[in-house]
């Protein structure tokens, strides 16, 4: 038809394509091809982010697999500069990296290895409603595809399902046209790990520390997953060790059926077509959660359909009526046992382990529902600078101020760390419902400064986790949680509770401080007044006597023992549930049992603790060399111990 309409008037018509020709050009696009061209949709927009995404996908898979198999996860992440024979550039200059992630998970059966790593949209998690890190079965294959695209190197996989089973080694790539795996290498090898999976990707990337870096990602993984032992070999040769602080797995989330409120019309039509039930009422009661026979009958009545109708025959107007009837019927909220919250204790442990502060608190909200999907919001707070950092300040501030000068105030803004199903979200912070909820919370009510439309100011880390069977991300690269009213409301409620506890802590501390200051200023001023009086009297004054007299009055007026009581009792976590307060004397409250705290009071020297599960490098570095990051803990805490060893169950044969 375009030939008819667009007739070029003068020049010799350059044969416009005919409908037939155009039709011949139409062809199927494979997902792989699509994502090759649109790799930014999956988080491979730039080399720096690509490096992070690769690590993230591999770590997510490792943790999901181990947890599902009931194994306490131990993950080793190694980042190396890939030199390919040439002298290796420094990590900050390098453009090619080799990412290796080793886990102690259940391993993968041989025939599943190629499709899992080299076929997009192949996975175990898409078709069920259950909380897990991965959802679509895109992640690791996309990372492999990215490797193939930028370096041409295949993905190397080593996996063993148990000590007695064989270890398989594979090198695979995706055939992007067909979205099928191409196997380059497949053999049995010897491996020094009894069970688990190792993935190696060689990719083009950039390693840069700071915000949204691999380092930050792994630190945040450690915060939200205190049941994981994580070892990170950074490309600069440093090794960071994040020991396990909770010795049990989080409860296994259950798989649930969809809730009728969360179903879209198209999905309902498909379910009607695919169901095995013979009657409409049976279909409703059997394929959905929270629909009893009575509720199913009620829906049928409202829709003016027979409960005995064949589901396959319900389409068109009838299906639409059914859909409306479902929305109009009151149905119980979906069960929440499909979600496994991190838990207040674990959040506290995670924050305490990784972030230095004076006050920690955590809140887990009861389950709530958006669009028929149950979800749980958890929030946590770490506030303050930690006792050792506080001790440094008085020296720095010893210089008296000149007129117009001001003490350097902490104008740093709070840091928000966001999680969805225990996975840290590092990009697109401002698009995230979490971030908006933090902004909307009136932090000033809790004694924290906040400018209009800005994050609260102060040495504070705000932790927010959303756990759900289906986290509504704003994009495929899973960077920000979509802004549903129900979700934002829950986040705000959780933050408000954290804020209230923080406010109580701050007020209590402030009160004690002001009592102290009160006494202090009198002491200072008495000195001045006595000196001035001495000069006024021309030196004829018993200054010591006057000073004593005034000090006596001051003590009497400022409450004396009462003040001491308040001071000695500074804070104290009583009345503040799920909180830790750190004072110079150590933590109070629900302080986690950190490895090293148990057993003998006098810790034996580092070298005396052999640790077979860790590579030698990990042990050496885990001593906590002066690390520049905030995550650095004193060596006492950062030490792996016998207790940190996994209590593994018998390996199960499971595929991811």
């Amino acid at each position: 038809m375009s030939t008819v309409l667009a007739k070029p008037p003068t020049t010799e018509p350059k044969a416009a394509p005919s409908a037939a020709e155009m039709g011949a050009r139409q062809r199927e696009i494979s997902v792989s091809e699509f994502f090759t061209k649109n790799r930014h949709l999956l988080g491979f927009d730039n080399p720096r982010k690509a490096l992070l995404t690769c690590v993230k996908e591999a770590v997510d898979n490792a943790l999901d697999a181990a947890e599902e198999a009931g194994i306490l996860p131990e993950v080793v992440v190694t980042l190396e500069v890939a030199a390919n024979g040439e002298p290796a550039p420094p990590a900050s200059q390098a453009t090619r990296f080799r990412v290796t992630v080793i886990d102690n998970g259940p391993g993968i059966v041989r025939q599943q290895i190629p499709p899992i790593f080299a076929k997009l949209l192949y996975g175990s998690k898409f078709h069920r409603l259950r909380m897990s890190r991965g959802q679509q079965g895109i992640g690791i294959s996309a990372a492999g595809m990215y490797a193939q695209l930028t370096t041409g190197k295949p993905v190397q996989i080593t996996s063993s399902t148990g000590a007695r089973a064989a270890t398989h080694y594979f090198e695979v790539q995706i055939d992007t046209k067909k979205n099928e795996p191409r196997i380059f290498e497949s053999k049995k090898i010897d491996w020094d790990h009894p069970r688990g999976t190792q993935v190696t990707l060689e990719i083009e990337g950039r390693y840069q520390k700071g915000r949204a870096s691999v380092d930050e990602f792994l630190e945040q993984v450690a915060i939200a997953n205190p049941h994981v032992t994580l070892v990170y070999h950074a490309p600069e040769g440093e090794t960071r060790h994040y020991p396990r602080t909770i010795q049990e797995l989080p409860p296994q989330p259950r798989e649930i059926k969809p809730h009728p409120y969360g179903i879209e019309f198209g999905v309902l039509l498909r379910m009607l077509h695919d169901t095995r039930s013979h009657s409409l009422a049976g279909f409703l009661a059997g394929d959905f959660s929270r629909v009893s026979t009575a509720v199913a009958q009620e829906i049928c009545r409202t829709a003016k359909l027979s409960g005995n109708a064949r589901p396959r025959n319900v389409h068109g107007a009838a299906a639409e009526a059914l859909y409306k009837a479902i929305q109009a019927t009151k149905i119980m909220a979906p069960p929440s046992n499909c979600i496994s919250p991190i838990g207040e204790k674990a959040i506290l442990h995670g924050l305490y382990k990784q972030i230095k502060g004076e006050f920690y608190t955590a809140v887990t909200r009861p389950a709530a529902v958006y669009r028929g999907n149950p979800f749980i919001i958890e929030a946590g707070l770490a506030y303050g600078k930690g006792p050792d950092q506080v001790a440094v300040t008085p020296d720095a501030a010893a210089v008296p101020l000149a007129e117009g000068e001001q003490r350097e105030d902490d104008n740093e803004l709070a840091r928000v760390i966001r999680y969805a199903n225990r996975v840290p979200l590092l990009y697109q912070q401002s698009a995230c419902a979490t971030f908006k909820a933090v902004l909307e919370t009136a932090w000033r009510n809790y004694g924290v400064a906040q400018s209009r439309g800005a994050l609260p100011a102060g040495p504070m880390v705000v932790f927010v986790h959303m756990g759900s069977v289906w986290v509504p991300f704003t994009s495929e690269s899973k960077e920000a949680i979509a802004d549903y009213d129900e979700i934002r409301k829950e986040i705000k409620l959780a933050l408000q509770e954290c804020g209230r506890r923080l406010g109580m802590f701050l007020r209590r501390r402030e009160r004690a401080k002001s009592e102290f200051r009160r006494r202090n200023i009198f002491e200072l001023y008495i000195e001045e007044v006595v000196e001035a009086c001495g000069r006024l009297k021309g030196g004829k004054l018993a200054k010591e006597k006057l000073k004593m007299q005034l000090q006596k009055i001051a003590l009497k007026r400022t409450g004396g023992p009462r003040t001491d009581a308040i001071l000695g009792h500074e804070g104290g976590p009583e009345g503040l549930p799920h909180s830790i307060i750190v004072t110079a004397d150590g933590p109070e409250g629900e302080a986690p049992v950190l490895p090293g705290d148990e057993g003998s009071a006098v810790a034996p020297p580092e070298e005396a603790r052999p640790d077979k599960t860790k590579p030698a490098a990990a042990r050496r570095k885990a001593k906590g060399k002066a690390k520049p990051t905030r995550s650095a803990r004193p060596p006492r805490r950062a030490r792996p111990t016998k207790a940190a060893k996994p209590k593994t169950k018998a390996p199960k044969r499971r595929k991811r």
């Binding site: 501030a397 010893a398 210089v399 008296p400 101020l401 007129e403 117009g404 009160r518 200023i521 009198f522 200072l524 001023y525 000195e527 001045e528 007044v529 001035a532 009086c533 000069r535 006024l536 009297k537 004054l541 006057l546 007299q549 005034l550 006596k552 009055i553 001051a554 009497k556 007026r557 400022t558």
Partner: protein, 368 residues
């Protein structure tokens, strides 16, 4: 001389030492040391109609040491008293700012300063002035030399003879302390004193030798006249029985300058006794002048919100309740405009000298 004073303790120094005594006595009795300081605000002044001056009321505030909100101020007050007594002993005069620097130091074993800026020390000096009933001059604290005088008057200043008729158009810079001990008025043959708000108009009058033709003393304080200028006008008025006329802008602030010259200020009401000139006359600019002298409306300036609220406050002052004054202020409010003295230049550069003032004086057109 300084030594002679050191031996015999002066009355002012005694007053300052009494601050230390208050502390010592209280400490002996295990009481909280307290200073009583008269309140310096509108609520604590009375207008003495008979004498025509503002007097300080009897209300006082207690400044106690062992009260968190007052402790620092108490300590600072004692420090300032100490610095002032040092001035007395050494027989020196100094400025407010130097007092601030003299008393500023870091307190022992802390990083806290005794004073952080001058705004903290200035009010304390005023507090001591009022509570000890000592004038600032007696405390040897001077302000900037911010005034000028020219005319047929002769002063003795540190033994020098200063003839203000022979100082060209610049005149003599009025020192901040003009008490008889410091400045002696040897001779004055003027018929009146003209106190001008602004330096520009004073310069115009001085340049035109207005004082010679009308035989007067020209005095300016460059805005709100400092104490030296006010005190000097008062002395000329009192000692030579000559009237004082005040020439200010036509706006609420001009009115208030006149009111301070005439009745004394609210903040330092206790000084009215020595400063106020109850017989001073308001010669202009009056809100009636634009009409009378044909000033066009376009040389006026619209009153802003602050002007309006200030004018409304003035209307309530007890010393401005006379009918002509109420009319004067209300007329300004009704017109919605204020006029600067400078606006007279719209007619002619020398309009002030040639027309305005001669006519005013001839018609005796002033407000009391």
């Amino acid at each position: 001389m300084a030594q002679a004073k050191a031996k015999k303790i002066g009355a002012v120094e005694k007053k300052l030492i009494s601050v230390a005594d208050a502390v010592i006595t209280a400490a002996d009795r295990s009481k909280d040391p307290t200073l009583s300081i008269p309140i310096r605000s509108l609520a604590n002044v009375n207008f003495n109609e008979k004498r025509g001056i503002i007097e300080m009321g009897k209300r006082k505030q207690e400044r106690t040491f062992f009260n968190v909100s007052m402790a620092k101020k108490f300590m600072q007050t004692v420090l300032v008293a100490d610095a002032l007594s040092e001035l007395q002993r050494a027989d020196l005069t100094t400025s407010l700012r130097e007092i601030y620097y003299r008393t500023k130091h870091t307190m022992k074993d802390s990083n806290e300063n005794t004073f952080d800026n001058q705004n903290e020390s200035d009010p304390l000096i005023e507090d001591l002035e009022v509570s000890l009933a000592a004038l600032r001059e007696e405390l040897h604290v001077r302000a900037e030399n911010a005034g000028s005088i020219v005319g047929p008057v002769v002063f003795g200043d540190d033994g020098d003879r200063v003839d203000c008729a022979r100082l060209g158009k610049g005149g003599y810079s009025v020192p901040s302390i003009v008490e008889p001990d410091f400045i002696e008025i040897r001779r004055c043959t003027a018929d009146f004193v003209l106190l001008v708000e602004k330096g520009t108009q004073w310069n115009r009058l001085s340049e035109d030798k207005f004082w010679r033709r009308y035989n007067c003393v020209l005095l300016t304080g460059n805005g709100q006249p400092p104490r030296g200028v006010r005190r000097l006008a008062r002395r000329l008025h009192e000692e030579y029985k000559i009237p004082v006329y005040v020439l200010v802008d036509n706006d609420p602030w001009g009115y208030y300058i006149y009111s301070v010259v005439k009745q004394g200020s609210i903040n330092l009401a206790f000084e009215s006794e020595r400063m106020a000139i109850p017989k001073a006359k308001f010669i202009g600019l009056s809100s009636a002048d634009p009409d009378r002298y044909g000033l066009p409306r376009n040389v006026g300036i619209k009153l802003n919100d602050k002007d309006i609220s200030r004018a409304k406050e003035l209307l309530k002052y007890r010393w401005l309740q006379k009918k002509p004054w109420q009319e004067e202020i209300k007329r300004m409010l009704a017109s919605g405009l204020k006029y600067e003295l400078d606006a007279l230049a719209n007619k002619d550069f020398r309009y002030l000298t040639k027309t305005y003032l001669p006519r005013k004086l001839k018609e005796e057109d002033w407000l009391d």
